[in-house]
């Protein structure tokens, strides 16, 4: 018998004790038509990127040449997800994910331009703009005549973006005057469309302190007087991507530059971020494949002790691990993209899982690729060190992985905190899985209730205070990510890409290894739950920081 609240995606339901196979199975592969389009886009992007983009030069020059920006424009990529009625190509998340991967496979700095534009900068307008606002701005954004940037972060408002201090005051004629300073804004150097988040007056109390004033979202075009951008930051990675300050000094924009209802800006910002993190995961897949491809080629060529190093067991572990993890990264990101395209509305937690998983696996894959390559990989003349430097930021931006773990577990436990009975009873079933994966199916059916039990105990221990019980939140989210990926892997491996196709034996092994690696991660965290180090951690950390 089920008692819980039926509304919720796969991950949210896991927290409430329901392993909902129907939420992820069959795998939402795209239609033939969508696949044809995305294949054509990927072929085009690969061919163009190989000719037009020199990633090492971009890294060395700390800038993306105008010719590359012009190329992105000519190919029409700035309009990929913008509806056709506004001059875009109207592609869905599947094609977006494939395109991001293809660009990223060539150059991480270049893909960041597209992420800043399509994934963040113009997204608020797309989600919350009025028809008139869309008609006004989207055609230029689709053609690339305007490139968008997302300006949320400030010096004192990073993870705690809600602490921002930029203000927007209403002038007597209804227009808005903005003042403040944003930092680390992607595309800052050349963007001419800034989505700026600022505090607007309190609806009832004109003297309300800044911190209690609501946040609203605005479009600020570059030509607005008083908008300045700083020199590009000198960064560890993504060195070609333009990251700058954005200064706003008495910048006046008309009333119709407000995006969404006044005071709803923070919701706009969070929804922009929450609705697109699988896109960042897709770009991580491109970089991971680049690292893997290079490492595999090296493992075949390089001989030591009279053998190619790829024949040694420990090198095999690294190569197989990279391949299995990439399979899982794809399963998660493509599943989420497919769910969005199928009209599924609640994908925020799935997208967060994809982002955490893909960014951390990418970092590990870069590390492993470097290990396979030995001293060669350490030399600057090879691209490994650049890939490694570029990969690192992914664990930090679009929500740090700590903040996402917090968000995932707090959101996941929310219904139970409100009502401890909001949980599903009954045996877990993950039906629809191919016979080859009977063991894995049984494992998932065993672990999902174990997870639900841990969730229940954590909620019973902390109640509402669970928001602050970060060790607990971290463990729960690690387990949730592992379960999500296990489900995604089984769903992908069980659903033919096209009717009548069967997975090759090699895919069965790949999927099985991908699954078992997640299972192991789950069980390690479960062991932590049984013997937590929380008190030791707090004592040792406090000793060190004095906090």
């Amino acid at each position: 018998m089920t008692k819980g609240n039926e509304a919720g995606g796969f991950v949210r339901l896991l927290f409430q004790g329901k392993l909902d196979a129907t939420a992820v199975l069959p795998f939402p592969w795209p239609s033939d038509e969508t696949r044809e389009t995305s294949d054509a886009v990927v072929d085009m992007v690969r061919e163009w990127a190989a000719d037009a983009i020199d990633p090492a030069q971009i890294d060395a020059d700390k800038t993306i040449p105008q010719s590359v920006l012009d190329g992105l424009k000519e190919l029409g990529l700035f309009g990929l997800t913008i509806p056709e009625e506004y001059g875009g190509a109207g592609c869905g998340q599947w094609t977006y994910a494939q395109m991001m991967e293809a660009v990223s496979h060539r150059c991480a700095s270049t893909v960041t331009v597209l992420g800043g534009h399509l994934g963040l900068g113009m997204k608020g307008l797309l989600l919350y703009g009025t028809d008139a606002q869309k008609e006004r701005w989207l055609p230029a954004l689709a053609s690339g005549e305007r490139i968008a940037a997302f300006a949320l972060t400030e010096a004192n408002a990073g993870s705690d973006a809600g602490a921002l201090r930029t203000t927007a005051d209403r002038l007597p004629d209804g227009s808005w005057k903005l003042n403040g300073r944003k930092i680390w804004i992607t595309n800052g150097g050349f963007a001419n469309f800034f989505a700026v988040y600022a505090r607007t007056p309190h609806p009832d109390d004109p003297n309300a302190p800044l911190a209690s004033r609501p946040i609203s979202a605005f479009v600020v075009p570059r030509e607005a007087e008083g908008l300045t951008t700083g020199v590009p930051e000198d960064k560890m990675g993504l060195r070609g991507s333009s990251t700058t300050e954005v200064g706003l000094e008495d910048v006046v924009v008309p009333a119709d530059h407000l995006i969404g209802p006044e005071g709803d800006g923070f919701k706009v910002a969070l929804n922009v971020l929450n609705s697109g993190r699988h896109g960042l995961a897709a770009s991580c897949i491109g970089q991971a494949k680049l690292a893997r491809d290079l490492a595999v080629a090296h493992a075949k060529e390089r001989e030591q002790f009279g053998k190619p190093i790829g024949a040694f067991g420990m090198v095999r572990e690294l190569i197989a691990g990279m391949n299995a993890d990439i399979y899982a990264m794809e399963a998660g990101a493509w599943l989420t993209a497919g769910l969005v395209d199928a009209g599924e509305r609640e994908t925020m937690l799935e997208a967060a899982c994809c982002k955490m998983f893909a960014t951390e696996r990418l970092w590990q894959i870069c590390n492993d690729a470097l290990q396979v390559t030995g001293g060669t990989g350490f030399m600057k003349e090879y691209p490994y060190e650049r890939i490694l430097r570029d990969a690192r930021i992914n664990l930090i931006f679009e929500g740090t992985n700590q903040v996402l773990r917090m968000m995932l577990a707090v959101q996941g436990t929310r219904a139970l905190v409100r009502d401890p009975n909001a949980r599903f009873e009954g045996a877990a079933a993950f039906s629809g899985v191919r016979a080859e994966f009977a063991t894995e199916q049984a494992t998932l059916e065993e672990l999902a209730p174990v997870f639900a039990r841990e969730v229940g105990q954590a909620v019973a221990r902390h109640g509402k205070e669970i928001r602050g019980a970060q060790h607990e939140l971290r463990r729960l989210s690690d387990m949730a990510v592992a379960l999500f990926e296990m489900g995604a892997v089984l769903s992908r491996a069980s659903t033919p890409e096209r009717d009548g196709e069967k997975p090759a034996p090699s895919e069965i092994a790949l999927a099985r290894l991908a699954f078992r690696r997640r299972e192991r991660e789950f069980r390690i965290t479960l062991a932590e739950c049984a013997h937590p180090d929380d008190e030791l951690i707090d004592a040792v950390s406090n000793e060190s920081t004095g906090l």
Binding site: E33, E36, T37, D39, A40, V41, D43, M44, E47, W48, E74, L75, G76, L77, G79, L80, E84, A89, G90, C91
Partner: protein, 250 residues
């Protein structure tokens, strides 16, 4: 102007060729296809001709229904419609039989100019274009590197051994395209989306009329490994010795 570009799908350049069990054909399993390099130039020239003179570009291929993928690529780059002469054993046809099938379709379509690649990058026979012109009874200029068309005539420069020849000819004509003729464009997202709505017609190709038959297909012998003789100027004597006495090329 009524413009036709002939296009062949060929295995991608990444192909690691394997001979099939019958010893006559490529092992087709796992082979990926693409538009033959010079046919991309033919399609580009056809589209440029349309942009200059108006009219319509039809891309014509003889192959399986799956060749729709390569045709869509051409449509994405500006061609207006695609035609497949379907034949599942398309790769068994000799140049003559292919040219004959194309000729019949071109006569049906009506054309002022037909563009072909100078050679298909798989078979390397460079014969279909000139055979097609002969069967149609049209002028033919091969290996064209520069082209100037007017309503009913044209001039073309072609690469001859060690020099450039310039020809004048009357339309209709068949032009086979060399690599310097143009730089094929990228389709762009707009082109890809527009291509979805463009028509691709399929009709069965006339029965093959091969005049030559493949007896055997063999891979070239594996190349022996290279050898590094040394570095810089110090290696030159050893290199000269090897070139003179081992390779016997000096």
């Amino acid at each position: 102007m009524n413009i036709v570009a002939c296009m062949k799908r060929v295995p991608t350049t990444e192909l690691v060729a394997k001979v099939g069990a019958d010893g006559k054909h490529l092992d087709a399993s796992g082979v990926q296809y693409m538009v033959s390099f010079y046919d991309e130039i033919a399609v580009e020239e056809a589209v440029k001709t349309k942009e200059k003179h108006g009219g319509e570009v039809t891309v014509l291929t003889l192959g399986p229904s799956d060749a729709a993928k390569e045709l869509r690529e051409c449509l994405a780059k500006g061609a207006d419609k695609g035609v497949i002469l379907t034949d599942d054993s398309w790769s068994d046809r000799d140049a003559h039989s292919t040219a004959e099938a194309l000729k019949a379709k071109i006569e049906e379509l009506g054309a002022d100019v037909v563009f072909c690649g100078r050679v298909a990058t798989d078979r390397d026979s460079a014969s279909v274009g000139p055979m097609l012109a002969t069967m149609l009874g049209w002028a033919c200029v091969t290996d064209v590197v520069e082209l100037d068309l007017e309503a009913d005539k044209g001039t073309a420069k072609r690469e001859a051994d060690g020099g450039i020849e310039t020809y004048a000819f009357a339309l209709p004509a068949v032009i086979t395209c060399q690599k310097d003729l143009n730089e094929p464009r990228y389709a762009g997202l707009k082109g890809i989306m527009a291509a979805k709505k463009k028509p691709i017609d399929e009709s069965p190709a006339p029965a093959a009329s091969n005049q030559a038959e493949v007896l055997a297909l063999e891979l070239p012998p594996a190349r022996p490994d290279g050898r590094i003789l040394g570095e810089g100027a110090a290696a030159v004597p050893a290199l000269i010795d090897a070139l003179r006495n081992e390779a016997k090329v000096l």
